[in-house]
Symmetry: C2
Subunit: 191 residues, 2 copies
């Protein structure tokens, strides 16, 4: 897991390579950013994901550039990030943010049949628990217009910063308010 | 602006190419995902940004792989995404999310001198308004250990989905609760 390509170089103390940490970050949100390359230009596209065991699933339209590229088996990177707080230090330089991010590298494979249906259920349930059975199930025609790809979690890592600001020794007694402003996602009620 | 590389292909009605829309998305958050390529492998790294006029600024450590790559003038992609709601439709297939995303393509340039200081102020003020003057200013030594790069907004686009679910005609009278669960970021109080 701690492969060279996913090793955390800056602030190595923030690097985590255990699947428990990576999985918790992947599972604690449904928005990911997918990176792929076309003609040497990287593209970073927001999309939705769900994890089942050792596999991360993404879905999309067969007509999308994203899916067309993924089907070619090109190298991709999927990153999931949660912002947990704004870290106010006594100096501008020591300001930071608390966050958790997970990075997965690999090549996607096309998913079909029962695995495709299980992946779509996982994605819907990840975004809106209970909805797979509450709403109408997909028809054959709808299933044909949705593609699912899978990315194995063989090569992944996490980076986490948490806790209070770390002030420079010279600033410790300065009369500047400091601490952490927590950030979280607020889910409203159905409108 | 509506260059071929940033044209929204899927759901073209969600594409926006005016700077007002793009700028509002870039300004309404400080977390971006930066994509770059090393040895044909894309990497997507969460980082912080701020916009000043026609330029997007990112910062980091001179020792980071991200900054080392950016200094080479390689092609990059910066994406900023806001999740605004979970869209519950009457069928599983029509479920969606409301979101706003902006994508910027280009090559970064290294920033120094007065522009660097202005960019760092913009980044700090973007994350925590008022802190640039409230906290201790950066020392010469601190400035040397922070690098800033700039990306022009010449090639960018936005994609926005908002509004209620769009149900298939066959589902309109189905007895399934539907609508939008709004999502927002909650800022707590300083701890």
């Amino acid at each position: 897991m701690a492969a060279e390509r996913t090793r955390v170089r800056r602030h190595p103390e923030r690097g985590h390579y255990d699947r428990e940490t990576v999985d918790a970050i992947l599972d604690d949100g449904f928005l990911c950013h997918l990176g792929f390359v076309v003609d040497e230009q990287p593209y970073v596209i927001p999309t939705l994901h769900a994890r089942l065991g050792d596999v991360l699933y993404l879905h999309g339209s067969p007509a999308s550039r994203m899916l067309k590229e993924l089907h070619k088996g090109v190298p991709v990177c999927v990153t999931v990030t949660h912002l947990d707080g704004i870290v106010l230090a006594k100096s501008v330089f020591n300001h930071s943010v608390n966050y958790r991010s997970a990075v997965v590298l690999g090549r996607a494979r096309r998913v079909e049949g029962d695995e495709k249906l299980a992946a779509l259920e996982a994605i819907v349930e990840h975004i809106a628990p209970g909805r797979w059975h509450e709403a109408r199930q997909p028809s054959e025609k709808e299933l044909k217009t949705t593609e699912v790809v899978a990315l194995s979690l063989d090569e992944c890592s996490a980076k986490v910063r948490n806790g209070p600001p770390i002030d420079s020794p010279e600033d410790r007694d300065a009369d500047v308010r400091s601490g952490v402003i927590p950030l979280s996602i607020l889910r409203g009620t159905l409108e």
